[in-house]
């Protein structure tokens, strides 16, 4: 086609007309039946990077920590299996196991023999997510390292990758190890051959509730947004000396321990 001034002006005119009609088209489109059929719960708590601060000064004995562990395991139908096939979301271990890089030859007697509360660190740079071949474990927008049990094929790469031992494999069907009367009917169990771990109570956050362990801790666990300088956790970290597990690995954990 020959490009004349006449055709150029014609097209320019039509384009301008189209732009002018935009608001009308948009208004008309809002009357067309909507195509989106899913939305988040309006009660959801929002954050850029969920994090937990554990005040170890207030969690000294097993009696302090057991209610927290029970609350978590009951909420998520975690089976009780003893021995090397144990399944755990929230558990405890000794100073030397938890902070192997930070413990010297001679230690404060009290710290030396103390147990610390452990859970998935929801790392900013999670090695488990990098190795998962099916994207069954992945990062949510809010910083939680999430598990999609529907996709897990049980290859256990993530367990090898996690430097914190936060992941448990279901060597056998977990159902027989759950007390049927104590089951939480709102939450699923797992099946044989999948890996599971703490999810920072993603299902509770989406309903506007804090994680189960935080609720049971009577203030010893703080939960909030690490990306927000005015959040509860950032304030606690500003005012107290805290450490994270194995910082040298560069995983950037989101679980801090106030010593």
């Amino acid at each position: 086609m020959q490009k004349t001034r006449r055709t150029f002006l014609k097209y320019a005119g039509v384009s301008v007309l189209g732009l002018a009609a935009m608001p009308a088209v948009k208004a008309a489109a809002s009357y067309v039946p909507h195509q989106v059929h899913e939305k988040p719960d309006p009660r959801e708590l929002h954050a850029k990077r969920w994090a937990m601060v554990i005040d170890t000064r207030r969690l000294n004995s097993d009696e302090d920590m057991k209610p927290l562990i029970d609350a978590c395991h009951k909420e998520h139908n975690v089976p009780k299996i003893d021995g090397p096939q144990e399944v755990k979301w929230l558990w405890t271990d000794t100073m030397h196991a938890v902070f192997p890089e930070q413990s010297g030859e001679f230690q404060h007697a009290e710290l030396e023999h103390k147990n610390f509360l452990l859970l998935c660190n929801h790392c900013y740079n999670p090695p488990c997510v990098r190795v998962c071949p099916t994207k069954a474990t992945f990062k949510l927008q809010n910083g939680i390292t999430m598990m999609d049990m529907h996709r897990c094929i049980g290859c256990r790469f993530c367990m090898a990758a996690c430097p914190y031992g936060a992941r448990s494999f279901n060597f056998k069907n977990p159902r027989p190890f759950l007390d049927e009367a104590a089951q939480n009917p709102e939450y699923p169990t797992r099946m044989r051959g999948v890996v599971e771990k703490c999810t920072f109570c993603s299902e509770r956050l989406e309903k506007g509730q804090k994680p189960a362990c935080v609720e049971a801790s009577k203030g010893a666990l703080l939960f909030g947004d690490l990306a927000d300088p005015n959040s509860e956790v950032r304030k606690a970290l500003k005012e107290n000396y805290s450490i994270v597990r194995k910082p040298g690995l560069g995983t950037q954990p989101s679980v801090y321990y106030i010593i």
Binding site: H37, E38, Q141, D148, Y187, P188, R190, E206
Partner: protein, 130 residues
Amino acid sequence: MYDGSKILAGLIVFLALVTFPFWNNFGAKEWKQPELKLPPKEVATQCIESKEYMREQHMKILDDWRDQVVREGKRIYIAKRDHKEYQMSLQNTCMKCHDDKEKFCDKCHTTASVSPYCWDCHIAPKAKGN
């Protein structure tokens, strides 16, 4: 034809074996669609979508729901029919009305000879007979 009788006999045996499923089922009972028992009126008067839609699409809905809930953090379903909102949850929405897994899920799945693995993890509620 060399060995004609053997070849013919072999062919007859072959045909008999190949057509076995047909004459074995001859005169067998006609397949009947299992009858769906709906929850009583006081429990629920309607499902999230129409009966036809649910019959054809429930597997697709559940598949979408699990991705939306676990991966996208979206927990509310907006019904196509009347824009009502529901929690996207097999355990906490579907089974609240259809609380008898054996009468509701298994009845059709067994007849259609499909075995979805939902209940390997999800907990079926104690049946109240709805």
